[in-house]
């Protein structure tokens, strides 16, 4: 029995890696044969970044079971910290991959620190109170970054808060208040992004399938019962939260470097909600679902451009309808029918999966 569970988990995890690698291979082939649109090409790295953001948030929301509305805050710390590290490495003459690795490392370190500092007090709260406090943290981070100035030139680093440091040329700034992060070089490396995504997935899956992961899920399902069998609630909550923050930082660094410029306002409440939408649509606790949802929902609004003025309305309707179809009893009968139809002429569009094998599948 135990062996059986192990194989199921193993299989399920590798399906996820397989999907990512398949996506990578298809994109590379399309690119090599010149069939990939510029639009899609430009979105590849952001898709990976959003997938990491979603997977990492799923750790907090799905696996730990605490609602966070401030995930974008950690992403922005990683983005700005990573951008700064990359700029310094770039000045020192480092290559693209070194800059990226350095940025991701810096992003992870800073957002881990932030996750720890924020988690320490706020994880004592529960439910919607925790949600609002994470939202508050995200707003504070945004507000601080809007007023932060960091520039570098021959005489070293210059920082300013609220006001610009005097005598620094406009070009010397890496982070310039309202103008946000100004990247020295755009690093848009799809293979590296896929490697990072897989690395994050491995970390998340290993955490979930470990003893700690089971402890985290136990306290999600029943806190008091978990405590009664000697699970240290605070430290396991903290573990999930900090790992989640750390990976958000990695995603932030990856995303930030792929853009020419990023404003602090990019990572606001709406961005947090967007990531949450990925998670909920993909299924709570279902990491693979998060990754796929992130990819699809990043592509979807772009693909709806032909709808012109109605684009965002249709996007909203799609969101509502999908949520209703996934959860309501009204659509259930209809759903079964369509599913039956689709099964008969099965296409390659959908990944083979079964909710029963989801490692942490939580029934809504």
């Amino acid at each position: 029995m135990k062996k059986n569970t192990f194989t199921t988990i193993w299989k399920s995890n590798f399906t996820t890696y397989g999907i990512v690698l398949l996506f990578f291979a298809v994109m590379m082939i399309l690119m090599a044969t010149g069939n990939l649109s510029r639009l899609m090409r430009g979105q590849l790295v952001p898709i990976c970044a959003y997938a990491i953001m979603a997977a990492s948030l799923n750790l907090t929301v799905g696996v730990l079971g605490e609602l966070s509305l401030g995930h974008a805050g950690f992403v922005s710390i990683g983005c700005f910290g990573g951008g700064l590290a990359a700029a310094l490495l770039h000045d020192a003459g480092a290559g693209e991959l070194v800059c990226l690795a350095g940025a991701v490392l810096a992003g992870v370190l800073l957002s881990t620190l932030a996750g720890f500092l924020i988690g320490l007090p706020v994880l004592r709260l529960n439910g919607d109170y925790l949600a609002i406090v994470t939202l508050a943290c995200c707003q504070i981070i945004k507000s601080l970054l809007t007023n932060l100035f960091v520039g570098r030139d021959e005489s070293g680093l210059h920082t300013g808060f609220l006001t610009q440091p005097e005598g620094v040329a406009a070009d010397a700034f890496v982070i310039r208040g309202s103008q946000g992060l100004r990247n020295a070089a755009v690093i848009d490396n799809f293979p590296a992004a896929v490697v990072l995504l897989i690395l994050c997935l491995i970390i998340i899956y290993n955490l979930i399938d470990s003893k700690s992961g089971r402890a985290i899920m136990a306290l999600r399902d029943n806190k008091i019962a978990a405590r009664s069998i000697g699970i240290n609630i605070t430290s396991y909550k903290m573990m999930a939260f900090v790992v989640s923050a750390a990976m958000a930082g990695a995603a932030g660094a990856l995303f930030g470097l792929s853009q020419a410029t990023v404003l602090p306002g990019k990572f606001d409440f709406n961005m947090s909600v967007l990531i949450l939408v990925f998670v909920v649509l993909g299924g709570l606790g279902n990491i693979r679902g998060s990754v796929i949802a992130a990819a699809l929902l990043t592509i979807l609004p772009e693909k709806l451009r032909f709808l012109a003025d109605y684009r965002m309305i249709i996007y909203a309707v799609v969101l509502i309808v999908v949520m209703l179809m996934r959860n309501s009893t009204v659509f259930h009968g209809l759903g079964e029918k369509i599913q039956g139809l689709l099964r008969r002429k099965k296409t390659a569009g959908s990944p083979p999966r079964d909710p029963d094998t989801d490692p942490a599948g939580k029934e809504g």
Binding site: V61, L67, P121, V122, R124, L125, N126, D128, Y129, A131, I132, V133, L135, A136, C137, Q139, I140, K142, S143, L144, T146, N147, L162, N222, K223, I224, A225, F269, V273, L276, V277, V280, L281, L284, D309, Y310, M312, I313, Y315, A316, V317, L319, I320, M323, L324, R326, N327, S328, T329, V330, F331, G364
Partner: protein, 293 residues
């Protein structure tokens, strides 16, 4: 004098937050869902009132009533179409649906009303009260919104405590299944909750835009978040808490701007919120819920 003036301005802003928070907290308290579309219903209400008064020349009170009526219908329709099918679903699924509704309302409003801001008419003809040689100004909107807040709070409390429907609401809020066993129609009770909440949202929209007259399809989104914050501040689900939370939020925001920094006013508001919640984890007037196995 400056301090007093800032205090008045803070209360003025806070009273607007409070009116919005009252609707928020009522829906949350009974339907147990965070209705992120609440802010956008506010926006719709304000637009309805704007068009009624500006284009069709209706008197202000008629515009307000029309806005309340249409928002009531809108609120009930949204509940019926988007939220009711999810009654048994995970609370997060409802949250995301609410966000979808919010996007939908914002973007539809842009198509229907246009993207340009409009300037909300002054519905309160009376001159503001000027004290101390004009150094302290209290606008009529402020007085009206404080008055309305108080009135709404009292009426809501009485309604929930004293009427049969209010009793049903409390029962639904405690335990939906048990309420159903007692012969209470859960769907109908929640519909009524949404109807009241949405009519309140329209009223709040009119007050918001009377105080801050620039109206656009995005007008509701930030006040919506602020009001949510205010509701949590006061203890979400608690009606007096929403009033207190709203007023405090407004005062902190204005004081933070006046005495610390206009650049960081948001950070200050949210920092205070965090500190308050750390000291009182269920808000100022929130009830502590005993966790059970």
């Amino acid at each position: 004098m400056d301090f007093l003036s800032n205090l008045v301005n803070g209360i003025s802003l806070g009273s607007i937050y409070a009116v919005i928070a009252l609707g928020y907290t009522m829906v949350y308290g009974i339907a147990k869902m965070l209705n992120f579309a609440h802010g956008d219903i506010i926006m719709v209400g304000a637009y309805v009132c704007f068009y009624a008064v500006y284009h069709f020349g209706l008197p202000g009170w008629a515009g307000v009533l029309l806005a309340m009526l249409l928002c009531l219908i809108l609120g009930v329709a949204v509940e019926r179409l988007a939220y009711r099918p999810l009654r048994r679903a995970d609370s997060l699924a409802v949250l995301i649906t609410a966000i979808g509704v919010s996007y939908f309302l914002e973007n539809t409003a842009q198509l229907v009303f246009g993207a340009n801001n409009v300037f909300f008419p002054n519905l309160f003809e009376a001159e503001p009260i000027r004290l101390f040689d004009g150094r302290l100004v209290i606008s009529v909107v402020t007085l009206a919104s404080i008055g309305i807040c108080m009135a709404v709070m009292v009426i809501l409390t009485l309604f929930i405590e004293k009427t049969k429907l209010g009793k049903a609401m409390r029962a639904v809020s405690e335990d939906k299944d048990a309420a159903r066993l007692m012969g209470i129609s859960v769907d109908r009770t929640i519909s009524v909750t949404f109807a009241i909440g949405s009519a309140l949202a329209a009223l709040a929209g009119v007050l918001l835009c009377s105080a801050i007259p620039s109206l656009s399809p995005m007008t509701g989104s930030m006040p919506g978040i602020k009001a949510f914050t205010a509701a949590v501040f006061g203890g979400i689900g608690s009606i007096p808490g929403a009033l207190l939370g709203g007023l405090l939020l407004g005062v902190i925001e204005v004081m933070g701007k006046a005495y610390i920094s206009t650049q960081l006013s948001d950070a200050i508001v949210f920092l205070v919120l965090i500190i308050v919640l750390l000291v009182r984890p269920t808000g100022i007037l929130g009830k502590k819920v005993q966790e059970k196995v």
